[in-house]
């Protein structure tokens, strides 16, 4: 079918808002972003099929029937997204329980390696300092400590 401009604009706005929210650090906002994005995608799928009357034989003449397949796909997608959002919400809640906020955290190990690289030590430093097997390296406390 020929796309309806209102639909297209709505899909565009939903996508844009969804992506913007996804870039936030707070999980609740990411969740909102996912919901907006999924609604945008569902509308997009709906646009792919013909609009018309109820696709039931005997109720609507065949040439004026809407395409039921995109609607069936959207139903499936809605159910799946519902489950996923519920899980993400649970994750955000658990995160809040554990650390007191719901922000996405950095990978500690990544940071540690980045710091080693900054000091130009790299993994070789680990090799050397432990090559003799003489106990834990003196630097370890400093290295593994959260910043």
């Amino acid at each position: 079918m020929t796309p309806n401009l209102t639909y297209v604009a709505t899909v565009g706005v939903l996508f844009a808002a969804g992506v913007t929210l996804l870039l936030e650090r707070s999980l609740t906002r990411i969740l909102m972003g996912v919901i907006l994005l999924s609604n945008g995608v569902n509308l997009l799928i709906l646009m792919g099929g013909r609009a018309g009357g109820a696709p039931i034989v005997g109720v609507t003449p065949q040439e004026r029937m809407s395409d039921p397949l995109p609607q069936a796909m959207i139903l499936t997608a809605i159910v799946i997204t519902l489950g996923m959002t519920a899980f993400l919400l649970a994750l955000a809640y658990r995160n809040w329980l554990l650390v007191g906020h719901d922000e996405v955290q950095d990978d500690a190990e990544d940071r540690r390696i980045a710091r080693l690289a900054e000091r130009d030590e790299g993994p070789a430093a680990i090799d050397d300092e432990n090559g003799d097997g003489a106990g834990p390296p003196a630097r370890r406390g400093e290295v593994t400590e959260p910043p």
């Binding site: 997009l44 799928i45 796909m73 799946i80 899980f87 680990i126 432990n130 370890r140």
Partner: protein, 515 residues
């Protein structure tokens, strides 16, 4: 014969329901899971034989034929992937049962593990068997939702942190996939793969290129191809060892499988070949350079996983029978080897109390068995002859040389360099964790109590038998790949030829849609 096709999906799902009902009875749960996965392996093997002899096996679910109905298609590629995935999931299940027994799960069983694990295998099987794009999406979602639960098992802070990244990235890739589905349907009016094969050809070039790009983006995230790979090393290592193992072995390969399927069936002609080749080169190099920087075995292995996805993309990007055949061989090899290495990392964690390279040492002396279990698949991964990694890489390099153009030569050079650097990375693990003098901080010296560690005087015994046995079985499987490399290469060769030819698949599923 076609009646067997839905079983790899249906049996694990039913098994999941049954194990969920048996929540308080771990012994019954274990029996059900083992039976189901064992039966799945058998069915998958029969499907492989059947599809090799008589062409793709097609089932229209509910009696609805293609293109309207949902079809499940077991062609050689799908059946081969099913066999490997069933074997690997079975081995990992045995491993996790061993771990559970050793940790005393008998009293406080984690009742959700078995159902979720079975749902995961059902999702993987569904993705392999899917005959239309939407069912492929559903398969992905089933395996993803199971993987979310498995990744965040226990809900500790670390796992929640890693799980968050994983869930958000996966959700995003699912959204992109879904968008691609909507666009494909709007452009062609169908989602059946066989019918799409004909209809996409008729589309204007720019339109089908856009569809191809969107699908590649979605699958690229799932397959962890650079630059879409950053989520993987961040999220996999924190999960329990068996979970990481099965994720590393299977989940990214489902993405690779989807790329193979769509690139050969829907978008033939190799329009995206150069893009894939460049992505492959960058994936290999960035992945392995990341691995070298790591000081934790699990993270290091995660980076090598990313790096070796590059080899598979290399083979797919060549779009020749030889290249694709080598890529399929490499997928099979890599599923087995990567899973094995992560299982070994789990054993190392048990024996040494950590997977951090600065806290390990002397494992080869403390537990020679563990040394062997690590050494063999590690060399296999690096591609030392006569292991299957060597054969797979040789196939890929040969296919690259045959193409004889600058980009292919760059890939050949990159592949050799990556192989060398992989050897360096795992040699570092070997030297630090296994070969040097035992670390003073190691648990056996500090005499950390605990029922598992009591028999520290007899190395190897303190590791739970089932865990060692399943890991050893996978190691032997990995070595066995060398023994069956000839027939396997023949199989992957005919599979690749059929994939590039397209007609056997299309004719079996939807004869009217032949391109």
């Amino acid at each position: 014969m076609t009646g067997l096709v839905p079983l790899p999906v249906v049996m694990p799902l039913l098994g999941a329901a049954v194990t969920l009902m048996l929540a308080g009875r771990p012994r019954a749960q274990r029996a059900v899971s083992l039976t189901v996965l064992g039966a799945t392996l058998l069915v998958a093997a029969v499907l492989l034989v059947g599809s090799s002899l008589g062409g793709p096996l097609v089932v229209g679910v509910g009696g609805w034929a293609a293109p309207l109905g949902i079809v499940l298609v077991a062609d050689q590629l799908a059946a081969l992937m099913l066999v490997v995935s069933a074997a690997v999931t079975l081995a990992v299940l045995v491993y996790s049962i061993g771990q559970g027994l050793a940790d005393g799960d008998e009293e406080t069983p984690l009742s959700v593990y078995h159902p979720t694990y079975l749902v995961l295998t059902a999702g993987v099987a569904n993705a392999f068997l899917a005959g239309d794009l939407f069912n492929l999406y559903v398969g992905f979602e089933i395996l993803l939702v199971a993987s979310y639960v498995l990744l965040t098992l226990g809900g500790t802070e670390n796992r929640i942190r890693a799980g968050t990244t994983y869930v958000v990235v996966s959700l995003l890739s699912s959204m992109i996939f879904l968008t691609a589905l909507g666009l494909v349907y709007a452009a062609t009016g169908t989602l059946n793969l066989a019918q799409l094969a004909g209809r996409l050809d008729a589309l204007p070039d720019h339109l089908s290129l856009m569809l191809q790009g969107t699908l590649l983006l979605a699958f690229g995230i799932k397959a962890a191809a650079f630059p879409l790979s950053a989520w993987l090393p961040d999220s996999y290592p924190t999960a329990p060892a068996p979970v990481t193992a099965v994720f590393a072995g299977l989940l990214t390969k489902v993405g690779v499988y989807a790329i193979i399927r769509t690139e050969t069936l829907l978008f033939p002609g190799g329009r995206a070949a150069d893009l894939l080749l460049v992505a492959a080169l960058l994936t290999m190099l960035v992945g392995i350079l990341g691995a070298i920087a790591q000081s934790d075995i699990k993270r290091l292995l995660s980076f090598t996983l990313v790096s070796h996805i590059g080899y598979m993309l290399f083979g797919i990007g060549l779009t020749t029978v030889v290249g694709l055949s080598a890529a399929i061989f490499y997928v099979v090899h890599h599923i087995v080897i990567q899973t094995t290495l992560f299982l070994v990392a789990g054993l190392v964690e048990r024996r040494g109390g950590s997977t951090s390279l600065d806290r390990l040492g002397g494992l080869a002396r403390l537990s020679p068995l563990l040394g062997v279990l690590f050494f063999v698949p590690a060399l296999n991964l690096a591609g030392i002859p006569p292991f299957s990694g060597f054969l797979g890489k040789t196939g890929l390099l040969q296919a690259g040389i045959e193409q004889d153009r600058p980009l292919a030569w760059a890939l050949v050079a990159g592949g050799l360099l990556t192989s060398l650097l992989t050897l360096y990375a795992i040699a570092r693990v070997w030297n630090l964790a296994f070969w040097r003098a035992p670390h003073t901080g190691m648990p056996d010296r500090a005499q950390q109590a605990g029922q598992v560690r009591e028999s520290a005087q007899r190395p190897g015994v303190m590791l739970p038998r089932l865990m060692v046995a399943s890991t050893a079985a996978l190691v032997i499987c990995g070595v066995g790949l060398t023994a069956v490399a000839g027939p396997l290469f023949d199989l992957s060769g005919t599979t690749a030829a059929h994939l590039l030819d397209r007609t056997p698949y299309v004719r079996a599923v939807y004869p009217d849609g032949a391109p």
